[in-house]
Symmetry: C2
Subunit: 338 residues, 2 copies
DNA sequence: CTCCTTTACTTAAACGTTTAAGTAAGTTAT
DNA sequence: ATAACTTACTTAAACGTTTAAGTAAAGGAG
């Protein structure tokens, strides 16, 4: 594995008969060199295949061209966020280092430090807990929250308008005549869960329907794809064993939805004839599912883009942007009457 | 956005009454300090919350703790690979910067340089073309190929045994009595396509069945999820319009499969009654699909892990590991008789 | 008690940038 | 004609590590 040594500023400077400072200035478009010199330097750069040693640059500037992304898992939702982040990073000439907190707060905090040690320009964080240690925020890279918020610190946050999205979905089921609507939520400890529940509750309240806590089931206390799917499955099973089971079910994330649908199928219930259903997140396979699923769709890609934008604003103008992007209720067959 | 300055080796050294060299040695477990000093230094480190400036370290060592991952898109297959890579990187204390080549060779080559400029320890690359510029390999970070191989250079490669996997799948369809089997492939320019076709051809040849080129359709000349799905869709449409259409279809990647299934559905054909089907890649939603899909399953997570392992071996022992991991044919309902 | 080794350090240079400060020549203002 | 400014550079220090080379003290061998 003999790797050729990369040329440095010195090599360029020597060849172009200027000092390294001049080369550096040309590289950074500092406009302090003559047209001629700029041309000559650029030619040498191309000729000997020079490119910057970013470690050296980061050391001097105290900041690298990397930004960190910390997600709790690599499910398709976060992958789509990553996609948006990557696209927007293109513009700012940033690159993304991705880390997986596995829904563990301890790991999350370690990762923040690891990334800061890399001198990242900033961190996009989908936090796993309801609060965030303030020293973490003061002493490390600038942080923008994505998807989920925390209570104790004021940070930029790009999220979905979960309350409104779930309000709309629940309203739709109510409009279709349902009074007993089962709600399947992920783990209680994150803001999305709280807000999704709130949307549901507000919708029921708006029709003066009493909340039945037995119809609200948590299915996401576990981590991992299989466990989450199982959580959705078990949640439905519990509901259907109630003396008065729900006539409609709303599953508030993708994996919970898959588990829920599995349980419904096993119970030999037909959607939407026997039970109505609304799920979460739109993915390609839903084009071929039957019945076609009514779902709440999140603008994940756009969230990724805006998070990077918010990070840039935070860094350059100290502006704390927070955005709550609208969720779209995509009405298809599974919720009954369209 | 006033970010507190991170403490340096000097700060630790001063507090612990030693030189920075000693602190560095303690940090790197160089075992040249007394028990007492080690303890004292570690205490100070914890107390003032010191962690290394990785840019400085990378500059001095000529190598960072980052590894680059270049994928052509962020589809679930590559996400699972990323998962495996992240897990294995944990062990080597590496972090992953992900880049998306968007199936463009030009972009891929730019990314290799960008990552090398970051002094990455190595690059895991899913190449977009059949060859790779040799200067790229000589002058940049060590590269391990994943999923796809290239012809002109000898690099470690961790791939799936596509020939065997597709041979088995085709054989299964033949065993179930099919003679006219439609094959849907991605773009012609990558090794996986070539090998998947080869497996199919070998299976047919083993039964002395003549290859009908009209039954081999490329659906993946386009980039992007929608385009790929459409490619699968169009491929089926073309096949079904043949004078003598296939009685079975084998779609050799996930998105092509979804498009193919969509077309089959639209043609009002029932699987497996009217047409048999085998697809590619197992994902959670398939638990609730009907009919249950017979698919060729790739060990993506394991490929990611092994790629990192191969990279490490390449770096430490100059060993060029290549592995061709077995594909599993998971037989369910869609291919007819089980 | 000398010499040699080992232990436990310290000193100082180097990695490849960026940038503040300096300079020399040319241009403009008065 | 001289001062003041501008242009186009150069010099040198600094960022925070790692590491080769040096050193001083302690321990052991002869």
């Amino acid at each position: 594995m003999v790797q050729k040594k990369r040329p440095t500023l010195y090599d360029v400077a020597k060849q172009a008969n200027v000092s390294i400072a001049t080369v550096s200035n040309v590289l950074n478009n500092k406009d302090e060199a003559s047209e001629e010199t700029i041309k000559r330097v650029n030619e040498v750069i191309k000729q000997i295949g020079y490119s910057r040693n970013e470690s050296a640059r980061s050391l001097k500037r105290g900041e690298s061209k990397l930004i960190g992304l910390i997600v709790p898992d690599n499910n398709p939702f976060f992958t789509e966020i990553l996609d948006g982040i990557q696209q927007e990073c293109e513009y700012y000439d940033w690159q993304v280092v991705v880390a997986n907190s596995e829904e563990s707060e301890k790991r999350q905090n370690q990762l923040i430090e690891l990334l800061s040690a890399q001198q990242v320009s900033g961190i996009i964080l989908a936090p796993v807990s309801e609060t965030l240690s303030t020293t973490k925020i003061k002493e490390n890279a600038p942080i923008v929250l994505i998807d989920r918020e925390v209570e104790n610190v004021k940070l930029p946050v790009i999220k979905a308008d979960n309350i409104d999205g779930c309000y709309k979905a629940t309203k739709k089921l109510l409009k279709n005549g349902h009074k007993r609507i089962g709600l399947i939520l992920a783990s209680p400890g994150i803001s999305t869960t709280v807000q999704r529940k709130q949307g549901y509750v507000e919708a029921l309240s708006s029709q003066n329907i009493q909340i039945d806590e037995e119809l609200i089931q948590f299915g996401g206390n576990y981590t991992g794809t299989k466990a989450q799917i199982n959580g959705g499955y078990q949640a439905v099973m519990r509901m259907m064993n109630l003396p008065s089971p729900p006539t409609a079910i709303f599953a508030t994330n993708h994996l919970l939805m898959i588990g829920a649908l599995k349980a419904i199928k096993e119970q030999n219930l037909s959607i939407p004839k026997d039970i109505s259903f609304i799920g979460f997140d739109d993915h390609p396979w839903q084009e071929i599912s039957s019945p076609k699923l009514t779902i709440v769709s999140q603008p994940a890609f756009e969230m990724g883009r805006q998070a990077i934008h918010a990070l840039h604003k935070l860094k350059t103008k100290d502006e704390v942007i927070t955005a709550s992007l609208p969720l779209k209720l995509i009405i298809r067959e599974s919720c009954g009457t369209v």
